[in-house]
Amino acid sequence: MGKRYAMVIDLRRCVGCHACQVACKSENNVPLGVFRTWVEELETGKFPNVSRHRLPRLCNHCENPSCLNVCPVKATYQLEDGTVLVDYDRCIGCKYCIAACPYDARFINPERNTAEKCTYCHERVDAGLQPACVNTCITGARVFGDLNDPTSEVAKLVATNAITVSKPETNNRPQTYYIKADEKALRPNLLEIVTGGEK
């Protein structure tokens, strides 16, 4: 079996320092105003019964990526190891992939004028390094590796913990696994948003 890269984000460890977000920006030269990875922070409940949650987000490098399916020029492609990449020389910037991604993972790079998203720091991984966000994570909350290798840390974490993914119902089969993520963070509470919190 070939490699299948995946990421596990252990929210028991995440402290919300946003270092991953900064490292990604710096490693990948991501322009101002757009992000390949970001950390959502939210608060739920009413005082005194409240809790705070964090949810680092990035491209899920789905097994059945909507973005890849809808691209009219096949600029989005998937490597054998599962990494979903964009061919910046092919992309025409029609933004269909951005509209189709359920995770807001994509954006138009205002300098390059093409669609862009997390690449799992493909060039670093190729060189045997960890993605920048994983490398920089101060608590080791982000773990990256080969899901098909039972001895890898991601495979062990996925096998031995209760895990969730964001929006499993979409048939994208996302490959970013969260440990102890809050359901309220994994998807927007649309009903609360449209009713203004009345219902």
């Binding site: 946003h18 970001w38 009219p72 669609a115 649309l190 948003i193």
Partner: protein, 388 residues
């Protein structure tokens, strides 16, 4: 339970007005063509006389529709990639080929439709004659045999045109319908709703264009055309009814689907009340439907014009509500997304609309719009008549 995001990144609505307008234009193109093919393809005699008006409108609207997409691309110079790649899983990729086949078919069809009158027009001299001479490519035979061949070819290419028109607009429904991330879009009804609303707006615009063409080319609306417009208005009533029923079915199922679907329905009904209920379905569908119920109203040209304008506005609102409204509900975070049309987008839309009107005016004024029994008025130069 209150959830408050105190840190999140901003996301944008990337598909704005140009995309909505693209759907709008292709819809009206398909609608006007299917309506006027009733004569040449389905053999309903009375529609034959408006086939020319309809096909020119269909061609010009379809020529301008994809320009909205071109201007919306972040890398417009690379649009050729669309032609060199096929991605069978992408509805947008299907559309590339339909957007070529459909207008090419229509142009051939219209050539056979206009050929005889262009040959007759050669004797008049001047710019028109040389223009016709160019367009005829030397095929100036007007023997009975040649004219019968014209008729057969009209029927042949018209018959290709009907399914192509259905596909060229139906596929745009798949562009939205295939996106499972957004509940407002993700419904199998989407292609059919798009087609029916295309029939509504195509008919609405066609009535107005037909009136203008008749007025400027023949001086006035004769009773024959008035009767036909009443018939078309009657058809429009049925199109609105079917479109309305589809919208109701769509909305009911949305209401009873998952939470995202219910929230989308709630969003359309409350947050977007004025544009969804008021403009799209009230003013744009219900009012023209009620107006067109009465036979008297259908025979009164001002009321038919009013109803047509309302349907055109209503379907525009529908395209905007679906394309932009569908992206207003966030996929992450906890805020409804705001859409602000950029100055560039508005310039592109207005520029293309003006250009489309100019091209339409040019074609209607130079091409022979004669129909059996009625000749263009000769006393006033047509170009002057249009300029007024």
């Amino acid at each position: 339970m209150n959830t408050v995001h105190f840190f999140n990144t901003q996301h944008e609505i990337y598909w704005g007005l140009p995309i909505a307008l693209y759907f709008y234009y292709t819809g009206m193109s398909a609608g006007s063509f299917i309506l006027t093919s009733l004569g040449t393809v389905f053999g309903i005699e009375k529609y034959k006389k408006v086939a020319k008006v309809g096909v020119i409108m269909a061609i010009v609207l379809l020529a301008f529709a994809p320009l909205h997409l071109l201007f919306d691309l972040a890398q417009p110079g690379r649009f050729l990639n669309l032609f060199t790649t096929v991605n069978p899983t992408s509805a947008m990729s299907w559309g590339v080929y339909l957007l070529i086949l459909y207008p090419v078919d229509l142009i051939i069809y219209s050539w056979y439709l206009f050929r005889q009158d262009m040959v007759n027009g050669l004797t008049k001299g001047g710019f028109k004659a040389s223009f016709y001479n160019f367009l005829l490519f030397g095929k100036k035979d007007v023997s009975k045999q040649a004219l019968d061949n014209d008729k057969r070819k009209q029927k042949l290419f018209g018959s290709f045109g009907v399914p192509l028109a259905l596909l060229v607009h139906g596929y745009t429904g798949f562009i939205l319908g295939n996106v499972q991330a957004r509940a407002i879009w993700h419904t199998p009804l989407m292609p059919i709703i798009f087609l029916m609303s295309a029939m509504v707006s195509g008919t609405g615009l066609f009535i107005i264009v037909l009136m203008l063409v008749e007025k400027f080319k023949f001086g006035r609306l004769n009773d024959d055309i008035k009767a036909l417009i009443s018939d078309i208005a009657n058809l429009m009533k049925w199109f609105i009814l079917v479109d309305g029923i589809l919208m109701i079915i769509y909305f009911i199922v949305l209401w009873y689907s998952n939470e995202a679907g219910y929230a989308s329905g709630y969003f359309l009904l409350h947050n977007e009340f004025w544009s969804f209920v008021g403009l799209e379905n009230g003013l744009g569908m219900l009012v023209p439907f009620i107006l067109m119920l009465s036979k008297k109203a259908r025979q009164s040209m001002p009321i038919v014009v009013l109803a047509s304008i309302l349907t055109i506005i209503g379907v525009l609102a529908m395209r905007i509500n679906l394309v932009i409204g569908g992206q207003k509900l966030p996929l992450t975070g906890s805020k409804i997304m705001e859409y602000v049309a950029s100055g560039r987008d508005i310039t592109v839309i207005l520029g293309l609309a003006v250009a489309a009107v100019i091209v339409l005016t040019f074609l209607y004024s130079v091409l022979p719009m004669n129909r059996p029994g009625v000749q263009e008025k000769e006393t006033i130069p047509v170009s002057k008549g249009v300029a007024q």
